[in-house]
Homo-oligomer: 266 residues x 2
Amino acid sequence: MQGVTILGNNSAVPAFDRHPTAQVLTVRDHLYLIDCGEGTQIQIIRYKIRRSKIHRIFISHLHGDHYFGLIGLINSMGLLGRIQPLHVHGPAPLWEILQLQLREADTHLPFDLQFHPLPDEGFVAEDAHSTVHCFRTNHRIACWGFLFAEKGATRADIAAGRSPAGRTYAFCADTKYDPELAEKVKGVDWMYHETTYLDDLRANAEARYHSTTRQAADIALRAGAGHLLIGHFSSKYADLGPFLEEASEVFPNTLLALEGTTYLFK
Amino acid sequence: MQGVTILGNNSAVPAFDRHPTAQVLTVRDHLYLIDCGEGTQIQIIRYKIRRSKIHRIFISHLHGDHYFGLIGLINSMGLLGRIQPLHVHGPAPLWEILQLQLREADTHLPFDLQFHPLPDEGFVAEDAHSTVHCFRTNHRIACWGFLFAEKGATRADIAAGRSPAGRTYAFCADTKYDPELAEKVKGVDWMYHETTYLDDLRANAEARYHSTTRQAADIALRAGAGHLLIGHFSSKYADLGPFLEEASEVFPNTLLALEGTTYLFK
């Protein structure tokens, strides 16, 4: 698990050239796309993500800023001749939405699109070098976070002098402040937690099922996380500096999720 | 009817910073959005289109590069507090697609979203200063073109010294070469016709229900159009110069549909 690249760090309405949520997690030679807001396929081109290496896509919930770009990405993968299977993990109704749009366009994908509805919590997927589990967050509609865990070093790794540290990454999706979340990702190496608002707007955050800077940092502290990445910034903020300042006061190992930046899990 | 602003001029897969189909027609103080590919709301911001003035949206067909941006635009209009009604005219199944996505997000729009399924052909809408009719084009799935006609000068216009010329604009959507199309838009002032390919790829155009440069120009010539706008360029072409050259040889009053450019109907 080398790191995560941010493709979108804004909340609902695009602004200041910031885009809706999308991240790419690199696990050896596989790419996992986490959420896919409108325009993600353009961000993938802009930041030179190898689309063909995207092996699985995880969608946290059905608010548009987290999945409206999925059908376009899938459609383009088909037009560009993808043949390897693509696994999509998301809320069950997503499959109806995708199928309806593919059917009305009379689209026949040249690859196998495999949809896997998310369980309420627990095991989601396993590949050669990682496992993925999901957990529920506390949002206005059903919403899931994902915990990615790298497997330990294999015999081949040891022979080659590689030593993957068995790193873990938690994507905590959209959520209001909820200390129970910290229990679900206890001891994680890297954690992404939304900070839609600065801390003076706690009331807005509470009302809209979102979190503030200090709330996110508090969750990271309670979880004993190694690093905290913050994002999903409200379109009302042009300057992101105060987000970093406020969160860092509570949890020093905080980083802003900036678009086009890859955060290496060292 | 002042003119048309191009927001997207590319075919299916975005490339070379060109975007999927979207155009804004200005009719007095109303804006009509024609097609709405993914990312149209970003193009609307980039080119400073007054979103609140968009009164009607017309969707030609359910291939994604013509409508995947619609749900995101509608969603953002709601988040930004729009209150005036919005009329969407499109193929009947579009309403199911929109409703499903709004329902799963538990979205309650603050404005009245009125959907009007397109008839096979004929009358679509009438406002104070214009009428809109639709016609079928010859594409792989059901596809409609739109004919916008400005009404003549009113008493108020004459008193104010304005003299709208009763201009007409035909949006011919996606279509293979079809001389019958010329009959449907006979004598139109401005015509948009797709040119997905240069003329050496007539076989590709035929197979994929698209048109070439010379074919589009031939339709404009047969229709006796005043001006021809060409667009929907394939992602295989970085340079658009040859499109203008080839089409102009057949129909001299041809212009390239360039993103961010407004073509004034003088």
